[in-house]
Structures are given as C-alpha cells and as structure tokens.
Symmetry: D3
C-alpha cells in the first residue's frame, strides 16, 4: 500500500468496475441526489480503527460519481469517536451528510475497512488486557492481510499493541534457515550479517532451545526471539538474559495462553492472530432522510 | 485487484520496501544462492485455495532479487494438491526448489495469501457441509477484504459455495434505502430501475417482512432477498413464492443457524462471515537443504 | 478506463510528451498568461456528450502548466448546454475563461473528446428517431473504442439509446461457438452455465434460425439474440415468443434497415455502428481576448 | 499511450472487469480448454493495420486466464498478411490456434483494434489514391482518438500517408490566437518563438489570406499552413512561395475536394477525417474446432 | 517523468517506505504538530531552480501524514526568490510555516531537488558567463539524470542556457553509425530520413571532419554538429557555412575550453557536463519555533 | 523506485515520448535491423556499477521497438566485468550484439545509468582508499538523486562503502529540531521515541558539542552522530565513548579532510558528496558492423 489514494481508488474500482457505476444507485435517477444522513454505529463492543479513511473513500466516490450528476453536493463527515477509542455496542461513531447516492455507493467500502481494522484493534486490546499488570508488551507480526499491512499495523497501535518490523527491510531477523544457510553457527552468522548490512539496522535471532539461546546471548545481537518455547523454558531464558537483551516470545500464543507467557517476564509477545485471524467488528451504517 | 501482476508486485513491495531488499537474506551474502527445498504443508485440516498464486509470487521475487545476484537460478514448483482440494493436517501441498534466498523472501507472502484464501475456502465448506442434503446453496457477499475480492470469491467457489454479485456493477440490488429514496413503492422502484439500467442486468430487491415480500413478488423482479427474517417467516415466503422467483436468505446467519435456514426451502443463503471473519488456515513452509 | 483522472492524465500526456510542454504556448512567453475567452460552439447539428469532461481536462492542464508560470490563474467554465441536449449548428455550448495558454493547450483534447462522444450520441439519436413509435429500443454493443467504453456507453444514453452489457463480466452471452464447445445443445449449455455462474447474472443466447430459436425458448434463458435474421424470420420469432422472453435483433443493422427491424416487434435492436463508425460531430473553440 | 503493455492491459480490464472474468467462457467449464482455430478474415476491402497487436492481446488474456486453468496451453498466431497490405474482402489475414476460451475472450478486443486501425489505414489510402500523380502528400492531424494517437499515426503510414506533428511537443505551430496573443505581428511572433524554444524544433505558422501569407513568407518560418483557403488562393501562394518553404493545405478537405487541392501544387494536405471520422473496416474472427 | 504528481509521490515513497512513516517524526508524538518555521537558505552562491516543486512536495507529504494526525494544519510557503534568480550565499530563498513534522519529513526531498536542480542552473550560468559577448549559445544534451530530464532541462533555462532536443522523439540526429547503417553517404541518408519522418522534424547530422562537413552542407540538413573538432577546424566550418545552416560544437567542452570554442563563431555549444556532472548547490533548511 | 521494471520503462518513456519512437532510428528504415556490435568501454579509470541494468534496458527497448519491425532479433549481452570491478581507461566492460536500431535507441539510457552509478562507486572508492588502514568505514546519506536512491546505495557498496539508513522508515534519527520539539532533553527524547516506535528500530542522535555528547552517551541510544565537530572534538568523543556506542562523523567531509577524521577513531564517516556531487564516469558505446 504505497500510496493511500491509489489504494482507495483501487478498492473502489473493485466494487464499481470499469464502467464506474453503481447500477443500483444509477437506478435511482435523480433521486440519488436527495440529501440523506448516514449514521455509522457500532453493533458490538470494540476499539475503532480506520475512521481517518472515511473521508478519503467519500472523496474518491465523489470523483467517480461526477458523470451521473455534474455538480454533486459533497458529503461531510462529523466524527463522534476517534481511532483508538473504545465504543460499546450502539455507539454512534460518525455521521455523514450528503447525497444518498454517495452514501450508498461508499457504504460497503467504508464498512469493509472499518470493520476489519476495528476487528484487529479490538483483538489487540483483548491481548493487551489479558496481560495487564505484567511488564510484557504485545507485538504484531508480518502475518497481515496482503495489501493492508500499514493499515493493520496502525490498528494494532490503536488497540494498545506495539509494532514489530514492518517488512523484510527494516530489521534483520535470522531464523533457523538463515543460520543453517550460513553454516550453522549463530555467532558467525550475526557478525557476518552486521558486516553486510551496516550499522543502522537491528539484528534479531530466533532460538528454539536453551543451547541456542546461550549461544545467541553470547553475541552482540539486538533482540532474541524465543520460538515455541514452554513458559518454563522462557522463564529460564529471562533469568539467564538478566536484561542484557530484549526477549520476544513467539509461536501460537492465544488469548488463553498469553498470560502465562507474560508471567515468564519476557519483554515482548508477538501474536500472528492479531492480524491473520481477527473477526470483523460489527459496524453498520443507518441511512435516513 | 484489476491486474494480478500489479497486485503481486504491490504486496511484495509492502514487504520489501523501496530499497527492494530483504535485509535478512542480504545478510547471507553468497549463501543466499544455495539451492534449498521448501515444503508447503497444511498444519490443520482445510480446503486449499491460492496455489495458483505461488508461482506468480516467486516470479516477482526473482525480478526483485536480480541486483543481489545477476544470474539467479529460477525456483520451480511441484504441486501435490490443486485449489479446491481438501487437505488434512500434515499434507504436503507443494514443493518449491530454488535458491534459499528466493524461498525465504517469498515465504511470508506466499503463506499470507494461501492461509487467508484457504481460510475462506475452508469456512465456506463448513457452511456447505452444514446444509448438505438441502436444496439451498451458499453464497458469498461483498463483505470481502479490500483489494482481494476476486481472490476471495474464487476461494468461495473452491470451498463449494457460489458467488453473489461481484460488485456494484453487475446486478441491481434495491435495499430499503433505495426504495425509500424512490418514493417507497417497490413496484415503481423496480420498473424505474429496469427502464434505466436496460435489459442486461438482474434486479434483486430486499424485503424485511411479508407485506413487502408480497409487494415484491407482484413485480417482475429477478430475485428477492429475505433480510433478517425468522425461519418461519422465510418458510411462508417460500410457500407463497412457489418457485416463481429465487429467494435469498440473508442477515447474520451462522454455522449454528444455517441448517434451520436451509430447511425453510430458500434457494440461496448468503453469508458475510465467509469472507469477513474467516480465520487463516494454518499452513507452513519447511525449508531444508 | 478504470480511473477517469488517470485517463485524462494519460491522454494529455499523449499530447504533451514527457517534457510536459506545449512548445507553441511556451513560445508565447508571458503572453501565455493573458486572460482569454474560449467559446465552444457546435458547427453542425447534433447531441452533445462529454461536457462533464471539460473541467477535468482544464484541471489536468493546469497541473502540467505550473512550471511555466508559478501562480497561474485557474480557468472557469460556464455551460450553456448539458449532456444529452440537442444543439443546432451555431449553438454556444460552453464558455471558458482563463489564461490563453491554458485554453490553447487544452483545446484539442477537449474537442477530441467532445466531438467523438457527441458523434456517438448524435448517431444514436438518429437510430432512435428512425424507429420512433415502435416499441423497440436501441442498444449499443461492445464494439467500442478501446479505452473509451464507459464514456461511449454514456454517450449512447445521452443519444436516447440503452446499454447492452458493459463487458464480458456482467452478463453471460452464449454464441454459436460457446454452444458448440459445450456439445451443441442449447438447453444443456444454458443449464450448465447457470450452475457455474450462479444466480446473479442474466444469460442471453444467440440463435441464427427458427430451429435454434425454438430450442432456446424452451429453456429458462433470460434473453435471446436473433443473429442476422431477415425481418420475416424475426417477426415469426416475436409471434412464437409471445412476450415470454425479451428478443434482441442484431447483425449489420443500418439507419436504412432499422425501421423494418423495429416493425417486427423485437424488444431490442443492437447496433455496432453507434460506436464503431460514428463520425465526429463538428465542434470548435473560438478564442478571443 | 505511453507503454503499450499497460495500454493492452487497460483495454482488457475494461472488458473483463475487476473480477477478471469472462463469464460466458467461465460458463464453459473445462470445455473452455478445447483447442480451436480462429480465422481472422477481412469482410470488405481495405488496408490492414494493427496486426502486430494481436499477439500482445493474446499474451495479456493468457495472464488473466490463469486462475481458471492453471496450465493453459498458449495460443499461437500465423500471419497471412502484414500491416500495410491491402486485403480484399474474404482474405484470410491471420490464424490463431489455441484454447477456445482464450480465443473467445480476446476476440472482441482484437477486432476492435484491428477494425478501427484498418479503418484509418483504408481511409488514408483513399485520400492517397485520390491525388495520385500529384506531388502533394497526405498528412494526418492531432484529431485522433484519445489514447490511441500513436497507433492511429502508424495506421496512417500503413495507408500511405505521412505524419504531421505527434503532439504539442515536437513542433511549434503558431495559429491566429498565438499570434494575436503575442501582439499580432507574424514576424516578431516567429522570432520570439525561435528565441524561446531553441534551435531544434521547426516552426509552422497558420495563415488565412494572402496578406498574412506574404508576411509569413518574409520570415525564416519552416512551414506555412494555408487555412481554409480556396484552391485559387492556394495556387497563388504556391506561385509566390516558389519552393522557398513547404506549404500545407488544411481545413475541411474531403475525398471529393482533395484532388483540386493537390492540383494547386501545395506540398502537404492535412486531413482530420483520417482519424476522427474513419469507419471501422469490417473484419471478423471465425472460430472452428 | 510523465506526470509530476506521480513523480513527487514516487520520490517520497522512496523515503517513507510502504509503511508511509517517518519514524523520527513519529517519535515526536503530538509534538510533531507544533508550528515551526523552515527557512530555506543558500549556503553558497548560485542560480536557484526547483522552487516551484516545494509546494508540491509539501502537499504530498501532507497526504501521507494524515494517519498520524487527522486534521493537520497545512504548511504555507512564502518565496523570497524565483527560479532563475541568482542567490548569493546566505540569501533567504523561501520560508515555510507549518507543523514541524511536515517540515522535517519533507526537508530532505525538498533539498535534494533544489540542490541538484540549482547545481545544474549554476553550472549552466558559469558556461553562459564564460562566453559572454560571443554570439554562441549554450545547449544541454540528453546526458541527464534518468527520471529528471524535463526538470533538468528547465534548470538549464533558468541558468541561461537553451535546450537541445528533449529526447529521441523531437528531432532527427544522424550520427556516424546511422549514416554507416544507411550506406555511408550523408546526402542520401538525409533525404531518406526526410522521406520517412515527414516534414515536421528538423534533421541534424554529426560530422567529424571537413570532408564530411562539406558533404553535409551540400544537403538540406537543418543543423550540423561538429563532433570533437579543434577550434581551428570549427572556424573553417563557420567560414564555409557562411550562415547557411546553424552549427553546433560538441564533445568534451569544459569551462576552460568553452571560450575558445565560442570564438570560432559556432552558433551553439552543447555541454553534457551541465547535467551529468553538476555538483549540488549547497542549500539548507533551518527550522525554528 | 519501487519496481525496477516500472522505473526502466519510465526513463525510456522520457526519451522516446508518447509516440514511442526514436525518429533517428526510424529514419533508417529497414537498415535499423542490421546486426551490429556495441562495445561498452571505460574512457577513464573507475569502479563499475549498474551493469545489471543493461539487459533490462535492452528488454524494454525491444518491447517498444516491436511496431517498427514485427519479429525483431533480440540483443544479447556478454559481460567482461561485473559490478564493483575497477576498470582502467580503455577496458572493455560489455559487448552487446543485436540490431543496430536496438543499440542506438538504448545507448544513451544505458550510458546515463552506467556513468552516473559508476561515478558514485568511483567517488566512494576514493574515500575508502583515503582512509585505508584506519578502522573507520565510509557511509552514504539520504542526499541521493530523487528516484535513484536504491541504485545509488548499491553503487556505494560496489565502491566499498556501507549504507546508512535507506529512508525515513528504517532508523530513528533525532536531530536538534526533533529534540527541541520534544522539549530539549536528549534523554527523555530518546526514551519517548523508544516507547513510540517499539523495539525493532535503532535510534541515532545527533550532537553538536561535548555537552550534548555526554548527555547522549548517558542514554541507551544505539548510535551517535557527531555533527560538524572538529577532529579534536571528535577524538575526545571517541575517548569518552570508549566503544560503548558506535560514533558517526558527519558534516562537509571532503576527500582532503577525511583522513584526519578517520584518525580520530570514529567508527563511521558519512559523506553526502558520494551521491550528491559525484561526476559521471566517462563510459562510451562504440558501435561497429
């Protein structure tokens, strides 16, 4: 998602087709210009994310709508919440005033964005709540929806989580296969990597057991990922590390297991489910005249 | 997602950044060219969708990888499944042979696509299974992931479902707000719509109760959506319609409730959850040398 | 033509080149900023289409013009007609006020669009007029100018015609080759197609003679195209169909023959010439200071 | 039309929609992979242009078709003509062998391109034939189809014409408005222009009468356009110029009037109708198995 | 650089990455919205070029910045210079007022553009000054930075130079290899070229010695390039040409040698170094609160 | 430069224009297909960078060339050097065999890329050589050519340098203005930043004097930039830091001063001139038949 305007234009194109027409709104004829009010309302409890996209979708739809009606009255949005707010079921999130055609054409795209991103924010918040009181922090992963990574990473922050690396480009992560490819030794793998990528990037290494962990700790690695360890193994790692380097727990962590993981004292807990398995938050738009 | 090559290029760009570099693979130096085998394996039971994208991702990654290594050996894929196949946990789905750098750089993008699409196909299949024996068919909706609609609609077919309209452009759908905007009468709304959109598109109308249903039935509408009706209301509609026009049940239908809905005799059951709330299917890539 | 702004930008790029300069306007130096009036005038009788694009072209040209003159006065348009209006020769269609450089640079692009689209609208109106009083309606085809389909389909509506399908995506059309490929039987072809595409799309079938016609009528096809039939054959089809399904006449129909076709009682008459052989309507821009 | 691959992709997108599917071919199921032969045949006499695009369209369609059928057999083209050849009605122009689905999906796009471009080439040839024996040459104008200028200019060459400037960027053309804006004097307008655009571009000036013509001749202009003059006025200009500078006749010249214009001895005759009012050449694709 | 908005968006994308975030500005939290003043100041003497891009960069950055802060105050620019002005070291060129985050994010992109383009303008001016009093004019070449040709050609004009051809498309240039490929004769090469490209483009021919020069002079070529000749050879050419056709000196001309070249009386002197070896002009942005 | 293929296509478009034609090659007619050999030769000593782009340019040109000649023989490249090699003047770098038209059309684009990138690599190598024997390493900056950052950063590596951050997205850099905006205290600025950006990115802080340096050293910053300090100040910083954190010298460092800077013992020396003021390396293509 390099350029947000291009992205919004692409997802609308997906809905409007190359003829750029909402045939249902087109069926309304001039009635599509009647001014209506669209009330965006949460239908279950959750954290809102994606509100800042609402106006962008409306702007794009207005561009597309021009042929139907030459001087279309622009829609206006009033926000009752902001991204990151918790909304209980029934909360009015935003109100859009404009031609009913504009509202109807943009409704599904706005809701698809808001529901998915708020779903991510809400699930993140559940994880954050589950470990409240611990010193651990919830991180996302790269297991994001293709095309929506930066939006979903923003949703994670709205839910109270922190971001892990954004891509393959902003941190070195050496997993078992990287290390095997480089000959199997963690220490030399890390020093080779440092030599090649220069001084500006952090290097994290993934370890699967205590032997590897101690080998990793004995280097100037910047972060260590404890992959699929049991809580007791993690706890041992935390003790051995003694704060020398930040530790990240990773691997199939669920809402049920996350508290146990946090109690081991790891600094970070990364959770793929935040983005790959969040359910959409139920949000609807009620239109009235 | 107008052009698939552009889409694949964009989602890789999201992961590789403008410097177009996987800094972890870059850290391997020449070791990134070692030939390895990547085994794509299902880690839980499900229906596979998205396999046809694997080679496209690899081709794109190879383009991006060129600066590192001028004459990179191309990766090759062997498929053990095809899209739409059911794979039980542990099934080898595909095997990729190529430089380890190519495998590592493409791994997450391939899995993000496969996991999400297979999640959609798998959830679809659950719904299809749940109503087996009935004459109803499961339909998707427009509640898809922004940017992935056509891929997700293909996944729905892989899971045994059928597709509802692809967008705002290929069928007229008159909901309550459309009808209100046109004056409130279903009959005149439909004939106005037919006059404006011409003869090539079907018109579906949404009704919320029996009064509206009978009003709709009394027109030459092509399909009627029963919105949030109870099973007993739906059953009455089915009886009254007597096959004159296809009926679609819609509104918050779950795996628990779907069988009851099918038993009413409706022709189609549309389920937003297929695409807005499917969990990723667990699939991994095991790399070995 | 997915995104209209991109389209306008591309057709201007075609005229301005990668150096983005109108060398003739550049030759004017500061004189290019003198305010002038451009009067867009019909030079022969016809139906206007494309007026809504005029401002978009001017906006794009103003973006391109910026380097020459940092704070260029924006051009403004006053419309004396609207799309779909009939203008007799000499009619003032619109008046543009702005820097003469902006007018000169945009003149040809504006006229190329207006002339072509108004040509389509005008030819459509001739066909519509030719069958006035009949119950038939004029339809366009997919024989449009590559890149301009949606604009030309809008022009057809401005001329009083209706739109046939917009592309390969919004209606199933089974021609002889489709049916041959599926084994040669119309009935089974249609039921296979319905099974595969689901309930949302209409299916039209092309027939070339009465035998095929009766076979088609005996299915639940949504529309039948009578391909290159004689008026007397068509008339027979109309009688046999007796309103059961809409009929479309197609194949080399001209302004001379269209009335005879309409008299057969077919519902729709599709005419490729509307878009593939319309002559540009003569429209000019007169600039004065 | 900056990049031809992008252009072909865009015009196919227009036909295939964002779901990228030909629903009629999709209806064929596996039958869409049956190998067929498509014979591209001229249905009236004309000059062929656009053959070089046929393979590009097929390549693009094959990309789009991949999801339906993972390992689609590629189509192959054999050419019986080349661009610029005259084909009499009934001539086999090219033969395409490949899956019937590929042929059906690409048929209309191929024909839309071939028919329009061959229409331009054919009309050009008529003008060229009409002045055979004279020393004049037929030029095109900038009155081209938006988005297709370079293709149409190539078609003009295929028809035996020559190209006028390609856009606003490759020649200075001073019309009455340019000269008025610069103060009204042709001589100073041309010397100002030469000073500003540098030495690499030709400057042409438009004149409407003999007084302006003599004023223009008295400068170092590179070409003079005689705008809407009568043949006798043009003849006088030719005599006065005496070969000092090339002369171009312009303004509403038709197939009927062009010979008279050529007889005046002008060097070039520019004809907007070549591109703005050419009728499509009738070409069809016959598919057989 | 077809479309400037796309170009600006691309170069910002290069700096901001697919996550579209300036992590340093992001680190400021709400402090990024504090209003600050950015003073753009010349740090050495030179000719300014590129000022017209400053606002475009800011506009683009503001689009990108939206997610961080929903209603960001837009930045405003006041210009103390205009493109083409000479600024001595210490001169205040422009002042930007706006949120410090906007200023910090756009600072480097603005300076990279301004410094490079002003470097080109400044070097051009040095060449122009070096030959002051002569009748020769300084031309640029096609040896420009890939992607920036039109901006650099504008910078050359700001420095007082003139532009040679913009690309391969707006002038014919026959070098030794072209002539060899066509059989080795300059005269026939030129007449063939004229026949093929039509009347609208100038033809320049490159000659390396007096024999070739006299052969070229004996044609109706529009300009002759004297390639790597000594000043005395050039002088002889000037005498022989006697103003019949413009002459261009070319080949490794430096600030040291250019005066000697100008004294030969050639009309134009083209200098590749203007664009391929200009040093960035030192310009900085000082931010204060 | 998100997608290299798009970039190459864009820079060729800049040279070929929307008509996509090299009018000089077009002038050759069929002679443009004669097979020729292009010898790419270094004309002065330097480090080569950009060779991997040569084939990509040729591939793109061949796409563009298709209309002229339907079945163009593809060009082939043989490499005598590889990127990063030092070539002395006269060295044959690569040899291209193919149609002379392809060679002539691609010549300038290939050379513009090679010359600029090799210029960067060569200047980098001079800096690396100048500090040979010291423990310091040469870093680049973000002062790159807009649109070419990743290519130039690769060139820096070919010249023996290391890369600083690639953009605003992969490292936090707190300069004086960032710290002022956050209240002026380095320590709190760094801990705020760490809290906001999460654990994956390094934080560097810029200091201008010893007081600031000691304040910075007293935090857990990952790198410290010594901005415009004198060698003796730097030396003091090196002593105080005692290896605790990497130090980077920055600010107007030249080939003359770099050795003195290296002798202070700083870890890294960043040099903007590597990319903003490198002169093109002289490279030419000699064509023969």
């Amino acid at each position: 998602m390099q350029n947000l305007d291009v992205y919004i234009s692409e997802i609308l194109a997906e809905d409007l087709g190359p003829g750029v027409r909402d045939v249902s709104v087109f069926s309304l004829g001039n009635a599509s210009e009647r001014i209506a009010k669209g009330r965006v309302v949460a239908k279950s409890d959750g954290v809102i994310s994606g509100l800042w996209l609402v106006e962008k979708v409306l702007k794009e739809v207005e561009k597309f709508s021009r042929p139907v009606s030459m001087f279309l009255c622009p829609a206006r949005v009033e926000y009752m919440c902001k991204d990151g707010d918790f909304a209980s079921s029934g909360t009015l999130i935003a109100e859009i005033n404009g031609p009913v055609g504009t509202l109807l054409t943009s409704e599904r795209t706005i809701l698809n964005l808001l529901q998915r991103l708020s779903g991510v924010a809400t699930l993140t918040r559940s994880f954050v709540e589950a470990i409240k009181g611990s010193k651990s922090q919830i991180l996302d992963t790269r297991k994001t929806t293709p095309g929506m990574r930066s939006l979903e990473k923003l949703a994670v922050r709205h839910g109270g989580g922190m971001n892990h690396r954004f891509g393959l480009y902003d941190m070195v992560m050496l997993k078992d296969n990287h290390i095997t490819a480089m000959g199997g030794k963690i220490k030399s793998a890390i020093s080779n990597a440092r030599q090649l990528v220069g001084p500006t990037l952090k290097i994290e290494v993934e370890v699967a057991n205590l032997v590897q962990f101690e080998e990793a700790l004995n280097t100037d690695v910047d972060m260590i990922m404890l992959d699929n360890m049991t809580p007791s193994e993690m706890k041992k790692c935390v003790e051995i590390a003694a704060g020398k380097v930040p530790l990240e727990a990773s691997g199939g962590i669920t809402l049920e297991s996350v508290k146990k993981v946090a109690e081991t004292g790891v600094d970070y807990i990364s959770v793929g489910a935040l983005t790959h398995s969040a359910k959409a938050l139920d949000i609807s738009m009620k239109i009235s005249f």
